[in-house]
Amino acid sequence: MMIGFWLNGKKITDEIAADMSLLKYLRSKGCYSVKCGCETTNCGLCTVWLDEKPVLSCAVPALRIEGRKVVTLEGLQEEAKVFGRFMGEEGSDQCGFCNPGFVMNVLAMVRELKNPTEAEINAYLSGNLCRCTGYASHMRAIQNFLAAKQRGAV
């Protein structure tokens, strides 16, 4: 089926198979930040934005993106780099496997929530699993990032 949509700000028209997932489609287009971590729809690694909302691309039929805007980490390089520095400073990057989905969801959270509390951050990011960190360093990195944003330092 032929559909048109926007990928990282660029209009694309393409023929997509009926049962292709958005995850597989995006990888076929070279968006290798989008990865499958669990096959059970609950690890958050495949997070992308669909019309500015974070979704699990492994569960979205690719044909559903017709006329919509898809953003992957490849389309948020500058912001990701800034937040990545905060992660690096706190050692929360660790093995790095879960980072793309985590960064996508953090950047979505920053747009959606104003001055989130620790509990609100935990709730928003509960669908992003990390097997290295125990999440404490993630929390420090996010709070430092939010504070720097408030100061206008980033």
């Binding site: 958050g44 909302k53 492994c58 044909l63 969801n105």
Partner: protein, 266 residues
């Protein structure tokens, strides 16, 4: 993962209904549960072009389109005020934000899944469902109906004064619940729903009048024991029937106490 021969974005409910009469065809909701199986589907029927993804607040009710995401439901300020947070509480522990942005309320309710938190919660509210051919049906009746090829188009929650409380028990955050419980108190008495038994949720309406008049701790105990005795519990990897039965007594009491506290706060 499923396989599909053909994907149709329906342009009308009639088209979707006609296509859905064939056994090999299927209406697509959020597809989160579907993708965990290996089903072969001839025609996937997508309702996303039919404007069924909105919550409309009317004078006497909230009308929720079947394609509304669980996240939209969770963030709806009107529903938050009406249910005093019960709907939000029933949704916010489901996997994660991204998952709830994908999952649709129609898929959750039409599927009548045992693990459905939202089904348990909506059962104790004044909820009806609109079926394309079957018309308007109370949710409690719909839950008992055999699965057919009709289309659930809307969920309607009447704006009645009911104090609703939702409680669930999970062994791990974001996992399926081991047991769910919702309680509401209104002019026609107390309603209690127990879900994740692990079968689909069941509704009780205090048929034995345990909770008439002032509610004492003894009445609460007797009512919780009645619910435990009259609910059929099963065993799966998340818990045994005996464990669920014990949990049910505790969750019913906690939910009722919370509902009574809320009533006193008003």
């Amino acid at each position: 993962m499923y396989t599909i021969n053909q994907y149709v974005k329906a342009v009308s409910l009639e088209e979707a209904y006609e296509l859905n009469q064939k056994k090999a065809n299927l209406i697509f909701g959020g597809t989160l549960w579907l993708r965990l199986g290996n089903r072969t589907i001839n025609t996937a029927i997508d309702l996303s072009a039919l404007g069924l993804d909105k919550i409309e607040e009317r004078e006497d009710a909230f009308v929720i389109g079947c394609m509304t995401s669980l996240r939209e439901l969770e963030l709806c300020q009107g529903l938050e005020a009406l249910t005093r947070g019960a709907i939000r509480e029933s949704l916010q522990h489901i996997v994660g934000t991204q998952f709830r942005n994908c999952a649709t309320v129609g898929g959750s309710i039409f599927g009548r899944f045992g693990f459905s938190d939202i089904l348990t919660c909506l059962l104790v509210l004044d909820t009806t469902v609109d079926l394309y051919k079957g018309g308007r049906v109370p949710l409690a009746e719909f839950v008992k109906m055999p699965r057919d090829n009709d289309i659930l188009t809307h969920i309607i929650i009447k704006k009645t004064k009911r104090q609703a409380v939702y409680q669930a028990f999970r062994t791990a955050a974001t996992d399926f619940p081991v047991l769910t419980c919702a309680v509401s108190r209104g002019e026609d008495g107390i309603r209690t729903a127990i879900g994740a038994r692990p079968n689909k949720a069941v509704l009780f309406c205090d048929e034995e009048n345990y909770l008439q008049g002032e509610i004492s701790p003894a009445k609460l105990e007797a009512y919780a024991a009645y619910i435990q005795e009259h609910t059929s519990f099963g065993t799966n990897m998340r818990g045994s029937a005996a464990y669920r039965k014990a949990l049910a007594g505790i969750l019913v009491k906690r939910a009722l106490q919370a509902a009574l506290r809320e009533e006193n706060d008003l």
